[in-house]
């Protein structure tokens, strides 16, 4: 077993043990891992199974059901665009397509250098401010093509400190 696998396992175990809410289940443990390390490595599936006395298959069944979870390293920066009906009516498709063209993607996904990822969200929850998008997990309402391109460009330029 490599060191990096051990580190991941340790991180996952930590996240599961320090989860903030009282009821501990497969789902709550997975959410906690996702929150603290940003993705679900296979080590985490095993750890969740161990803590909740279930099988890895059961855990994978839950993990693959909810779109919250990702199973590869997350990109350094992220954009989420809402495609819910309110945002759609207000022109979310056009904004989305402009962002996709700027980033060089065809649909949801990540740039090849893992610098920027784009996700479609069914509802970011703040419909009165539609069209809504989120840039590095900060909600931005009343989106226009110009605003979206400006924010996308600033994320593309952003250099990471790590």
């Amino acid at each position: 077993m490599t060191t990096s696998q051990n580190v991941l396992r340790e991180k996952a175990r930590n996240a599961i043990e320090t989860q903030p809410y009282k009821t501990i289940t497969v789902l709550s443990s997975l959410l906690s891992v996702q929150d603290s390390i940003g993705w679900i490595p296979s080590e985490a599936l095993e750890e969740v199974a161990r803590v909740t006395s279930s099988t890895v298959n059961d855990v994978w069944g839950v993990a693959s059901f909810y779109p919250n979870f990702r199973f590869t390293l997350p990109p350094k920066n992220s954009i989420e665009v809402c495609w819910g009906p309110t945002c759609h009516v207000l022109g979310a498709q056009s904004i989305l397509q402009h962002i996709l063209a700027e980033v060089g993607l065809e649909n949801e996904g990540e740039t090849s250098d893992q610098h920027l990822g784009l996700k479609l969200n069914t509802c970011l929850g703040v419909c009165p401010h539609g069209p809504v998008a989120s840039f590095n997990h900060r909600l931005q309402g009343k989106m226009t093509k110009e605003k979206a391109l400006r924010l996308t460009k600033s994320l593309m330029k952003e250099t990471q400190n790590d």
Partner: protein
């Protein structure tokens, strides 16, 4: 009044008096604030106060419902009322605060409304078009008090209902009050809340659950999130009352993961209640004990269905269960449970405090009280309006909502979420009423009204709704799983101008099968948006599907999770979505 509550009331009065002796600045910084940029505003407020050495209390509140004017900056000066500034730009914050706090002269240019004071040319808050006609019960504290602050909540009549119930009433009396108030569920099914609580009260098991459904995956509805971010204590008080009335022992608030402001604020409020003896053992010194906690769920629309919700609380995939057994007999973890929407439960404290007659005097014959409508889409004043049932849809959309921002005519409303239907402009004189709206083929649902102007294509919107339904189908019942895929295929074809001659009949047949062959509302109502749009705009569908001449083709990039996700419109929809999970799990069991 119980002794414990007397102490709390005294403490809260002191805190409230202290608060009203200093200038008080409120900024809405929940989800809605964040989206409008109010996090920058609050930073500017703190800086302005510090650099100008001013004295003021600053509170981060929730949304006041006037989302169109956010970010709001609300400044209250002792004995001189409040001025609310709207659409505040971060660069103006210091100027506004200096003028108002240091010089005592509010800046009219940025002012939106006033409360308890007069400012030439600026309307009173209650006279704003969006506020006129509102009766605020569940939203009574929206934007007014700091979420989760027990003292401020009690100073605004909070926990009075609970105290009265615990000191003067039997559980059956509380149940009787809810029954005779005529409160009906605000989550969509509009079932009598008192009757529902009665089912649980009749079960004598020692451990029973009250589940508060804040999943709210409904696009277009945001009133649950608003209640949680602006006044979580209303929900908590309501939940304790529900627990008392039904003799339940545990409460669970169920919120979608990722909505941080509602989650954090509810969490803070629950902790505060434990600290003050409002939750836990022997609440307010009475015999009654009740525990409450938050459970988060992943993104899943079906998790809002009551039995799927219980599966999700247990940490499994949110798929509906067979009924019977019904939740009141066998619920979460096998314990008898009662599930209500956040809004429904948040009405309980005021009903118990003011009595059932007060509540049932508001609204129509069969729909009592108020409804919280969420206005979004092509509307000038977007946000939340709490109006008595019996208000006309036209009044809500045209007067309170201000109509289309560019004065275009409104073509239709999409109501009741992605499983709801459309209400066309000529139906707008209909009164807000659960039964009347259901009879017209549109559900009021949980209150989302998506306003669409004349330029909206109903075929295009229906496709988005069905894409949503298809993606969110949990996959348990095949009529729903395959049916939504079929419907999406057909609507995709329609939008491509490649409809086949029998498509309309095929949709109808698929829809009927979904209705009879699905366990939960998702499949049963899955054909609803198509049926409703077809009825209202049949010529538009016919033109799009079988019309002569040019048909506008709209590109639609759908998420990878939908059936059409791997393609964009313009290609023939034949293949199925590609695998988007690159990770392969290890199949052997762990040690």
């Amino acid at each position: 009044m119980t002794e414990d509550f007397q102490k709390l009331t005294l403490r809260s009065k002191l805190a409230w008096d202290l608060l009203s002796q200093k200038p008080w600045i409120r900024v809405g910084t929940g989800l809605f604030g964040e989206a409008s940029g109010s996090l920058q505003i609050i930073d500017e407020v703190y800086t302005a106060i510090k650099t100008n050495a001013l004295e003021a209390t600053v509170s981060e509140v929730g949304t006041s419902g006037l989302c169109y004017a956010e970010p709001l900056l609300d400044i209250q000066i002792p004995n001189r009322g409040r001025v609310i500034y709207g659409n505040v730009d971060p660069s103006n914050v210091e100027y506004i605060i200096k003028e108002h706090l240091a010089k005592g002269s509010p800046t009219k240019k940025f002012a939106l409304a006033t409360i308890d004071c007069h400012l030439e040319g600026i309307p009173k808050f209650k006279d704003l078009p969006m506020m006129k006609g509102q009766i605020r019960i569940a939203l009574r504290n929206a934007g007014e008090i700091e979420p989760g602050d027990i003292d401020q909540y009690i100073a605004n009549n909070g926990f009075v209902g609970l105290d009265r119930a615990l000191s003067e009433m039997d559980p059956s009396e509380v149940l009787g009050i809810i029954k005779s108030s005529g409160l009906r569920g605000r989550g969509g099914a509009a079932f009598s809340t008192g009757t529902k609580w009665g089912f649980l009260a009749g079960n004598t098991a020692p451990k029973k659950y009250i589940l508060c459904n804040g999943e709210e995956g409904d696009p277009g509805a945001f009133n649950d999130k608003a209640i949680l971010e602006t006044d979580p204590l209303s929900l908590i008080e309501g939940c304790i009352l529900a627990g008392y009335a039904t003799n339940a022992t545990n409460g669970v608030v169920f919120i979608r993961h990722g909505h941080d402001a509602p989650i954090d604020r509810t969490n803070k409020a629950i902790d505060a209640c434990y600290a003050d003896g409002l939750l836990g053992k022997n609440i307010l010194g009475s015999e009654f004990s009740f525990d409450m906690e938050i459970v988060l769920v992943g993104e899943s629309y079906v998790a809002g269905e009551e039995t799927a919700l219980m599966e999700a609380v247990e940490g499994k995939r949110s798929m509906p269960r067979f009924r019977p057994p019904f939740p009141a007999a066998y619920g979460v973890w096998g314990f008898p449970s009662n599930i209500n929407n956040i809004k429904t439960i948040s009405y309980a404290p005021e009903i118990v405090r003011n009595g059932p007659e007060w509540f049932s005097s508001i609204g129509t014959d069969k729909s009592k009280g108020t409804a919280i409508a969420c206005l979004s889409g092509h509307i000038k004043f977007s946000g939340l309006v709490e109006v008595p049932f019996g208000t006309s849809i036209r009044k809500i959309v045209e007067q309170m909502g201000g109509g289309d921002p560019n004065s275009k005519s409104i073509k239709f409303l999409q109501t009741g979420g992605p499983l709801g239907g459309v209400l066309t402009n000529d139906q707008f004189d209909m009164l807000l009423d659960f039964d009347e709206m259901a009879a017209a083929g549109a559900m009021f649902g949980s209150g989302g009204l998506i306003v669409c102007n004349q330029e909206t294509s109903s075929v295009d919107l229906t496709r988005v709704l069905i894409a949503f339904d298809q993606m969110e189908s949990c996959g348990k019942c095949f009529p729903c799983r395959l049916g939504t895929s079929h419907l999406l295929d057909i609507l995709d074809r329609a939008c491509l101008g490649k409809s086949l001659s029998g498509d309309l009949q095929l949709m109808e047949r698929v829809g009927q099968n979904m209705k009879v062959g699905s366990l939960c509302g998702h499949g049963q109502l899955g054909y609803n948006p198509v049926a409703s749009a077809l009825k209202a705009f049949s010529s538009e569908f016919n033109q799009q599907m079988f019309g002569e001449g040019d048909i506008e083709i709209k590109k639609f990039v759908a998420p990878l999770h939908t059936r059409r996700g791997s393609q964009t419109l313009g290609e023939t929809p034949t293949s199925i979505v590609k695998e988007d999970f690159t990770f392969e799990p290890k199949l052997e069991a762990s040690q």
